[in-house]
Symmetry: C2
């Protein structure tokens, strides 16, 4: 039987607020067994860029990453956010090690071709180094992954944190029984955005299509759930969308009962 | 017989200039066997602080690290410089992993007490995690260390890169035959600062005292050499001061021939 592995992805808004960050780190420290934390930090990057007079441009929720913006995200994601999370986890007794995709060649990507939109220094994941992550985990370390990859040609690249979490979960599923948890500021997928108690406990692929059709699921939640179904199809045992305080409950994303996915 | 371990410390001026950085990384990539790179980055931190309107204050060559400055050095040392060095070493076929003292609790420090001078968030090294570094090296990884430590209470601390290199070298000497190389913009300790060919090939402790007495060795070179003699006294096999292009030649720092150091 495979060992379990919990991969928790925590977005910018959770990392950026002191109370939600502390709540997340406490919950994370209590998870037993193998675990990986993947974090964002977009709002802090935008704030630093502002102070430096570098304009932030987003297209479909994705950051256009100029050479100057690449420096900003390398500093904020790889340095400020990553190392503060690591230091705080160490204080909670978690043997955290903060890493980007360049470290130990953990996540190799290719610069996204400039087609309709030129996203700049943005990387699409090509390869996850399962052996290196396995080795760190076997040594008792808890990887804390920043949303940065590299191209093996000497360049760092900016990569969406949801994509990092999903790619790592899919690759690690060959060796572990993986649960992937997306931790956001809402307690799960809501039937009514204005009512935090309207969490939909289970969503299958069929449900998803119906809920998108009826407009209950919209905007940013669509790619997040698509990502979740891709992960399930690629062998991830369970995908959960929940809030940082519990890291339990929330919405469980599942394949259709009759599906071969 | 102990395995060899080369620890190379590369200062700010070398990291900050494209040509000397590339030269250093090429030389470093050609070193066979176990190796660790320790880097600085002070000038880049000062430049970023300037752009953010944060004043840089130095006392005896050491940075006063306010809460705001701690964010700057965490971004620059732990993010920008560290990850760019790692990505470029990966491109040169070196399996680099960029780390601070917080990662895997590699280097634990205590905040320097505010006595004559309040240095702020500056850490004095208390402990180097030899086992964790050994483990990484055994896995074929090449640690790239940023000059940052932590206090195990959730705080990052700023720590001088020479001190990091020297502390790591001393601790690792229990398990490895360690050569510690300080790589600076001069080709070694010079008899005449204006003549790069006047490198003093060997300096013993007695020579050092005489050269300080006669004024040949002065200013920043005094603590650097003191550091080197401390390392030798603590079991480091060899300390070298040289330039980045060769990582050989330069000045070899040695105990007195008759000494028990």
């Amino acid at each position: 039987m495979k060992e379990t592995l919990n991969i928790i992805k925590v977005g910018g808004p959770v990392v950026e607020e002191e109370s939600s960050l502390q709540s997340l780190l406490m919950s994370f420290s209590r998870i037993r067994g193998n675990k990986i934390l993947v974090h964002g930090g977009g709002k802090i990057a935008t704030a630093l860029a502002d102070r430096l007079g570098i304009e932030t441009q987003m297209i479909s929720g994705r950051r256009i990453t100029s050479a100057e913006m690449l420096k900003v995200v390398t500093m904020v994601y790889g340095g400020l956010v990553n190392k503060n999370v690591v230091a705080r986890l160490q204080a909670l007794g978690v043997n955290a090690v903060g890493l980007t995709g360049a470290d130990m060649n953990l996540i190799l990507s290719v610069k996204r071709p400039a087609e309709l939109v030129n996203f700049g220094f943005v990387g699409d994941v090509k390869y996850v180094n399962v052996k290196a992550l396995e080795h760190l985990i076997a040594a008792g370390a808890v990887p804390v992954l920043a949303p940065l990859t590299h191209d093996k040609e000497g360049n760092m690249l900016n990569t969406n944190a949801d994509t990092i979490a999903s790619s790592v979960a899919q690759a690690m599923a060959s060796r572990f029984d993986v649960t992937l948890t997306f931790c956001s500021s809402t307690p799960g997928v809501l039937r009514d955005m204005s009512d935090p108690s309207s969490v939909i406990p289970v969503i299958t692929k069929n449900d998803f299509e119906a809920l998108v059709g009826s407009g209950v699921i919209s905007e940013g939640m669509i790619p997040k759930l698509q990502n979740a179904f891709d992960a399930i199809a690629a062998g991830v045992s369970k995908v959960v969308i929940t809030s940082p305080s519990a890291l339990s409950g929330g919405t469980s994303v599942q394949a259709n009962p009759e599906s071969d996915d």
